[in-house]
Symmetry: C2
Subunit: 364 residues, 2 copies
């Protein structure tokens, strides 16, 4: 991502050892066929050092912390920010202290953080409680805060996704970009990135930004419709990555969507489950929050087919870090002895033929 | 990897939707400092669609299978080949049938395969038994075989790693390349790739290829020393990715190493555990087989410091797919209430300061 350092506060390429950014923008032909969409691209942010788009914000904040000679860097997180910070801090030898909700954090993501030597603080409360405590700790101990509400660099790092999409589409902006929204940083950063392309004179407009929230954690979607300030609520969705009831970057996210003449869409947990399964049928494994954008596109596909524009779905986080949400009903397992007779193989062959007739049926 | 299609049997770029290849060659400054090595690069093959270097061979065989109008593709695997094939087959709508050893396959990797709709056949025996059965099934049912011993395209796909290393080092070949060896395909493919660079006139030599086997699964290391044909044995190592007692590509691997005036090195499970932990301290999570090359470099570092040449370690597989082998003793977890008093934070701060003094001590 340091390729874009002319548009960043600094060039951190010499100070950060892990390659970040340059993720694929791909066409999933089978998905497009199922959806009846000709112009859908997937921006696959799962290929960073920790498998999420948080790695961009982590890289730039880590470099900043080192330039300021800070030894400890802290954050609050629903899971991916903390995973990303654990990786980035280890890469340069900083100490990471990660505040998470005890009941909200994925057990395997917590183990992932610890594998890199991070200190995990599990707060018996919500993500918002963890956020508040992490800020108190940073003030008390003089730790560097990677928190989005505090640290303006997170948006700077994340805006590079917009530059890449523009470049990968042949130096053109798409018509719609669907973005999962929790705290709101990612979508605000996309708005900033596309806006900078316009100000640089290389784009004549910004795309419509479509914010995607979970039904059970949709304060910004509600506020966007009512035109009022959002009301903090209790988040209730299985998609841990966007399970945020009181977004740290809500105002900026609303402004960015409004400025783009965009929209907010909500999706149910079941719709995200379906999107995860559909992407797996295309050979791609994302976590529920990561696949929320595709869930919203499935909902909105009639409108997208009508409008005919170019659509990009931002897929924010890999599925590999949390096996709880993998689709597991689809495959089949057989057990055979090593001296299996042809008859045992024959039974497997018959089942494979049978499965082939049903395996690729997709309902939307 | 299709950038290299002039040197491949065909260009599959239009037929394979998942981006493969173009993985980072990185310098882990902290690792080099700990090892006292100035010229060590890590080729990080964990960033492919399924997190291993098998994705290159999968891509080219999948395209071949489709060109031949095959509907079912099968393989035997210690885990990563099958994971990779599950992903690749889903991406294009082929049916994957994956033969694995019931007791050898990682439970989470099996779930991973099924998440993509693959059919998994667990054989109550070794990897070699699974291999034999998979070939019988391919013959019986006319399924396409992705097996290395049968399908010459796997080497073609994997040789592109050599081209990338050469290009990423500024169009120069390194002096040593350390490569984990199970079946032997990867190292034979590297030998072929570097050899083709010489034949193209863009390199004047091939690097010394250092094959790395687990102590408990080292038939090729033993054969290389004795100069005799290898003896098949029972594999006994926790590094499932290289737990192969009777390599399908052993002869080719021995020839490649010999031709490069290379060497075979063995590493213990504990040495691989240590390498996994050391890489995690650099922000990188690999599986034991993937980190075997670094384990061997730790062993050989005195020789490497003396020789002073440029060394590349091939890191073949991501750690994310199997949490059983993550280092977990390093991080710490605290639990606090959301209304934690400053005193509770103070205790955490004290522990963080204490950990900072010990956290970055590395023993080799």
């Amino acid at each position: 991502m340091w390729r874009w350092s002319d548009l960043l506060p600094f060039d951190g390429s010499a100070d950060y050892p892990l390659p970040v950014g340059g993720t694929p923008l791909l066409v999933a032909a089978r998905l497009n066929e199922w959806l009846g969409l000709k112009s859908l691209w997937l921006k696959d942010e799962s290929r960073g050092p920790s498998g999420s788009n948080k790695d961009r914000a982590t890289a730039i904040t880590i470099v900043d912390a080192r330039r300021k000679s800070m030894a400890v860097i802290a954050c609050a997180s629903t899971g991916n920010v903390a995973s990303s910070l654990a990786v980035g801090a280890a890469a340069v030898g900083l100490t990471a202290v990660l505040f998470v909700s005890r009941d909200g954090v994925s057990p395997q993501k917590e183990r992932f953080m610890r594998a890199f030597g991070a200190t995990v603080v599990k707060v018996r409360g919500t993500y918002e409680d963890a956020y508040r405590l992490s800020e108190a700790a940073c003030r008390t101990f003089g730790w560097y805060s990677r928190n989005t509400g505090i640290n303006p660099l997170t948006v700077q790092g994340k805006k590079t996704v917009a530059f890449e999409i523009w470049e990968q589409l042949g130096r053109q902006v798409p018509d719609h970009v669907f973005v999962p929204v929790g705290d709101g940083v990612t979508i605000a950063a996309l708005g900033l990135g596309f806006d900078e392309l316009v100000r640089c004179g290389v784009a004549d407009r910004i795309p419509r930004l479509i914010g995607v929230q979970a039904d059970g954690a949709a304060p910004l979607a509600a506020a966007y419709r009512s035109g009022e300030q959002w009301k903090a609520g209790v988040a209730n969705t299985y998609a841990d990555g966007i399970s945020v009831g009181d977004p740290q970057f809500g105002t900026e996210a609303l402004v960015a969507v409004r400025k783009s003449r965009g929209e907010f869409v909500t999706v149910t947990d079941n719709q995200m489950r379906h999107a995860v399964a559909l992407l797996a049928k295309c050979g791609m494994l994302f976590e529920p929050a990561g696949a929320a954008s595709v869930a919203a596109i499935i909902r909105a596909r009639a409108m997208l087919i009508d409008s005919g524009g170019r659509t990009v779905a931002l897929l924010t986080g890999a599925g590999l870090k949390d096996p709880r949400w993998w689709p597991d009903e689809r495959g089949a397992t057989f057990e055979v002895s090593p001296d299996a007779e042809l008859s045992a193989l024959e039974a497997i062959g018959a089942r494979v033929r049978q499965r082939m007739t049903t395996n690729h049926v997709v309902s939307l």
